[in-house]
């Protein structure tokens, strides 16, 4: 399998490998990175221990261990949080800034898009912005219209910033370490509902820009990331029982995305479904479907299916929220439609 994260190969997934949740894995990655490099900083609302190390505890212990000069809880000032991170990065540090929820990133769009993503280019390479922006999102907890949007498409459309979205603790650890080491800004998207599921963590670096074939199959390729990846694997498992062999590719990095791995898989299966929790229209599925179509015209047995959320704000009422976001059944139906 085109698995770049070698330690994830079966033999490595042995007894001594620790199981931990996404929260613990990201927390460990931050601890290890701060330990490894004194230039690594952490800032954001509530991130220091006097504020309980993050609303979800993802940054727990960091300020106690590395001090409140390197780990700063901030006022509610998203523009200044990202601005401070940009300045610190331009000044030689490696800040990891937290924007508590993805919807709040809208407050700091100027800092991210006009500055973090562009300073290297506009300065002709004289400066760079090696920072990570951690943010959390995802429907499922009835938090309503302003707390669970997936906005990765905006940043994938922006030159100069990378976008990653791990679906499991092992990739979360590996991608966080890679993002902190990266010389350019990286948006790191965490899915709230995925926070507490324990899984083995190998502590291997996961290269940015490399997707992963998480399950091999021969009939069709499903391309997903974040929570939709978890759903897709479950669906593939279920469909296997019905004799349908689904190959599942975990994008892991949304920009720059791994065309080679995705195209190799679809070249093999001839069919593809792209799934994301973000609104379907003008979502990242459109770019991936377009490239697959452009590159595999003739090989492709039918148009690429796209699965995404309804074209509305995220609703509060449980039955509506469930109908809004793609569910395992939605994904299974799309796969069957693509095989019909």
């Amino acid at each position: 399998m085109t698995d770049t994260n070698t330690a994830l190969a079966p033999e490595a997934a042995s007894a001594e490998i620790q199981k931990m949740t996404m929260v613990e894995a990201i927390n460990l990655a931050l601890h290890d990175a701060m330990e490894a490099d004194p230039k690594v900083l952490v800032l954001g609302e509530e991130v220091a221990d006097p504020q309980e190390g993050g609303v979800m505890g993802v940054t727990k212990g960091l300020s106690t261990k590395y001090g409140e000069d390197r780990v700063k809880s901030t006022p509610i000032s998203e523009q200044a949080i990202i601005g401070a991170a940009i300045g610190a990065a331009v000044g030689g540090y490696k800040p990891v800034a937290e924007i508590m929820l993805m919807n709040f990133i809208t407050v700091s769009m100027d800092m991210i898009v006009n500055h973090a993503a562009k300073l290297r280019f506009m300065s002709g390479g004289q400066t760079g912005v090696p920072m990570v922006i951690r943010t959390m999102t995802g429907a499922g907890f009835s938090t309503g219209g302003q707390h669970s949007d997936y906005l990765e498409a905006w940043f994938a459309h922006t030159a100069g910033i990378k976008v990653v979205a791990p679906s499991n603790p092992d990739d979360a650890y590996g991608l966080m370490r890679a993002a902190i080491d990266d010389p350019d800004p990286v948006l790191f998207i965490e899915n709230l509902p995925s926070y507490w599921t324990p899984a083995p963590v190998t502590k291997q670096l996961v290269p940015i820009g490399k997707a992963k074939v998480s399950r091999e199959g021969s009939d069709i390729t499903v391309i997903a990331h974040s929570l939709m990846m978890t759903h897709s694997l479950a669906v593939a498992e279920k469909l296997a029982a019905e004799g349908i062999s689904v190959e599942v590719v975990d994008l892991r990095t949304i920009s720059p995305w791994d065309r080679e791995t995705v195209l190799a898989s679809v070249r093999k299966t001839g069919r593809a479904v792209v799934v994301h929790e973000a609104v379907k229209q003008f979502g990242i599925g459109a770019e991936i479907a377009s490239v697959i179509t452009e590159q595999l015209w003739g090989t492709l047995k039918r148009p690429v299916e796209r699965v995404g959320a309804a074209f509305s704000a995220v609703p509060f009422s449980k039955p509506l929220e469930t109908a809004f976001a793609p569910q395992p059944d939605t994904i299974a139906a799309a796969i069957k439609a693509a095989l019909a």
Partner: protein, 327 residues
């Protein structure tokens, strides 16, 4: 503040009635959540009841307010219909927002509750716009922006106060300073002693009052509202208060200063006001019990109706995205 107006007996009793509705409603919401009947993010207003109650006695239905996720107290004080409130919390089609908004986006235009936002600071620019609309209407309407101490440090605060002062808009910027922003104590959010001191930077009056004291809160609100109705422009009011149930229901509260918390509890504004009403002979014990029983009955009815109501159908996802339903 000696020269500020004070509430008369009837007004004090009305403030107590509103505050009691808020307190009893909060207790019922928590009871329902504990019982697993309501599932939602809940930001309890317990401890902040007096602020909107002492404000709203000087507001009319057509005065505007914008509030935040922690805003059920602001709404109930202004007359938000209990039935639609509970139906919305329960995610039902009969809720004010058809279940689409939920606790963080409660809206009721007939009562002037135009916008409830879950984004810190964002109540202020929108309330400024409602103030502009009010000024253009020429009906002496006012617009109230509710926000917290943490929100006073975000850019939207600055832009809104500056614009409202520059345009002399009838806006009351009401900062409910409960000393914490989520787990962050004010010591971690700014240096300046009083948030109201920032008003000077915009050329508008600013005042800090004990928001838990009906007299102080009523007086400051009344003066600001009259100033706004008179076309003299906005005011920044910082109302000092405390959150008894932490930020989000279910959190640990470990980050809170124990003594501060204990002291606040000892000064719970609700029993204090209740005792005062009796001691000053404004209402008898029996009269108060009747009021409290009556409120309890209203809440009973609202809760029962809410849970009997239907959930919205998936087709609702295509409605209200635009005025015209999506095909």
């Amino acid at each position: 503040m000696s020269n500020y107006p004070k509430p008369d007996a009837a007004t004090l009793l009305e403030i107590y009635r509103k505050a009691t509705l808020i307190k009893q409603n909060d207790e019922r919401v928590i009871k329902q959540m504990m019982a697993g009947k309501l599932v939602m993010p809940y930001y309890s207003p317990r401890g902040q009841e007096i602020i909107p109650s002492a404000l709203s006695v000087s507001l009319d239905d057509d005065d505007y307010i914008c509030t935040i996720y922690r805003g059920i107290h602001d709404m109930l004080a202004k007359g938000f219909p209990l039935g639609e409130l509970w139906a919305e919390l329960a995610g039902r089609l009969t809720g004010t927002c058809k279940g689409k908004g939920g606790p963080m986006h409660l809206t009721c235009p007939e009562k002037g509750m135009m916008v409830t936002t879950g984004i810190v600071g964002s109540s202020m620019p929108i309330a400024t716009g409602l103030g502009w609309a009010a000024k253009l209407d020429g009906k002496k309407r006012v617009s109230v922006a509710n926000f917290g101490d943490g929100a006073a440090n975000i850019g939207a605060f600055h832009e809104s106060l500056n614009m409202a002062a520059l345009w002399k808009l009838p806006v009351i910027f009401l900062c409910q300073n409960n000393l914490y922003a989520e787990h962050t104590s004010i010591a971690y959010s700014r240096v300046v002693e009083k948030i109201s001191d920032r008003a000077a930077g915009y050329g508008m009056p600013g005042i800090t009052v004990n928001g838990n004291d009906p007299d102080e809160m009523y007086g400051a609100a009344k003066v600001a509202i009259e100033r706004a109705r008179a076309g003299e422009g906005p005011t920044l009011i910082e109302a000092m208060t405390f959150r008894f149930n932490g930020h989000l229901l279910g959190e640990s509260g470990h980050y809170m200063d124990k003594d501060l918390y204990a002291k606040a509890k000892d000064n719970d504004p609700m029993p204090i006001l209740r005792a005062r009403l009796v001691s000053e002979g404004i209402a008898s014990e029996d009269a108060l019990v009747t009021i409290e029983k009556d409120i309890e009955a209203q809440i009973d009815a609202a809760v029962t109706a809410a849970f009997e109501a239907p959930f919205p159908d998936a087709s609702e996802l295509k409605r209200d995205v635009f005025a015209q339903e999506i095909a």
